[in-house]
Subunit: 140 residues, 2 copies
């Protein structure tokens, strides 16, 4: 169970290393990872509140509350009242938020283009597909 047959062990290890490497690579573009993912989510989902974002990323509500407050302070998102719930707000990306999101996304993609420049299209497709599947699997 500790030889090359131990595929589970390999995956476990490589994911841990990938996390380490990706974190060590630091921020690319003007947004940090949290801000980037949050803005991406708002871009995809349209205006949502803190709770929905916290659920999506499995973060504590308080964490996301601070992150969205920081984004608001920087003018990257706008807080709208939720007409259906007076306790909650809805966050919407501002023009400047979209600008920085686009810029950061491009920078990140450039990094991966460079990283994967020698990979075949076939292997890229496989990796993308399997990562997507793994991430979906994570959602228990």
């Amino acid at each position: 169970m500790e030889q090359e047959q131990d595929i589970i062990g390999l995956i476990e290890y490589e994911v841990a290393i990938l996390v380490r490497r990706a974190v060590a690579a630091g921020n690319v573009g003007s947004l940090d990872r949290s801000a980037y993912l949050l803005l991406r989510q708002l871009e995809m989902q349209g205006p949502v509140g803190v709770k929905a974002l916290a659920d999506e990323f499995r973060l504590d509500i308080s964490t996301v509350s601070r992150q969205t407050a920081a984004l608001e302070a920087k003018g990257l998102v706008q807080r709208l009242p939720n007409p259906e719930d007076g306790r909650a707000s809805l966050f919407q990306i501002t023009d400047e938020g979209m600008r920085q999101l686009t810029e950061t996304r491009t920078a990140r993609k450039n990094r991966y283009s460079l990283l994967l420049k020698d990979w075949s299209d076939e292997d890229r497709r496989k990796l993308g597909g399997l990562l997507a599947r793994l991430n979906r699997t994570f959602i228990d």
Copy 2:
């Protein structure tokens, strides 16, 4: 470039999400991710110093210095003088360190076994191989 043809964009996004999910999943077993990777590295490389570990993980030397000091305080590693360099130490896993490493590795593997329980062996192999390749690619 923003359709399904954008494989690079997909990979970039899925890696970011995987990092988020893996971090959110929290610690498994008795060791945190840093301690786990550090002990694994010591297990593989044999006794090495702070610098080598910091290089391996692209962390600041000061960060690794504190991490190894913490491991030493917990009795998971032992500090040996480096006979070839009076400035440096070499760290070696203790028996208790090996015990906790094994325990944590097993716990982590169990988690992935569960996660990947419906995957074909073929897909697992592909994922493991592609992740390993991606990580090697990260080493510029």
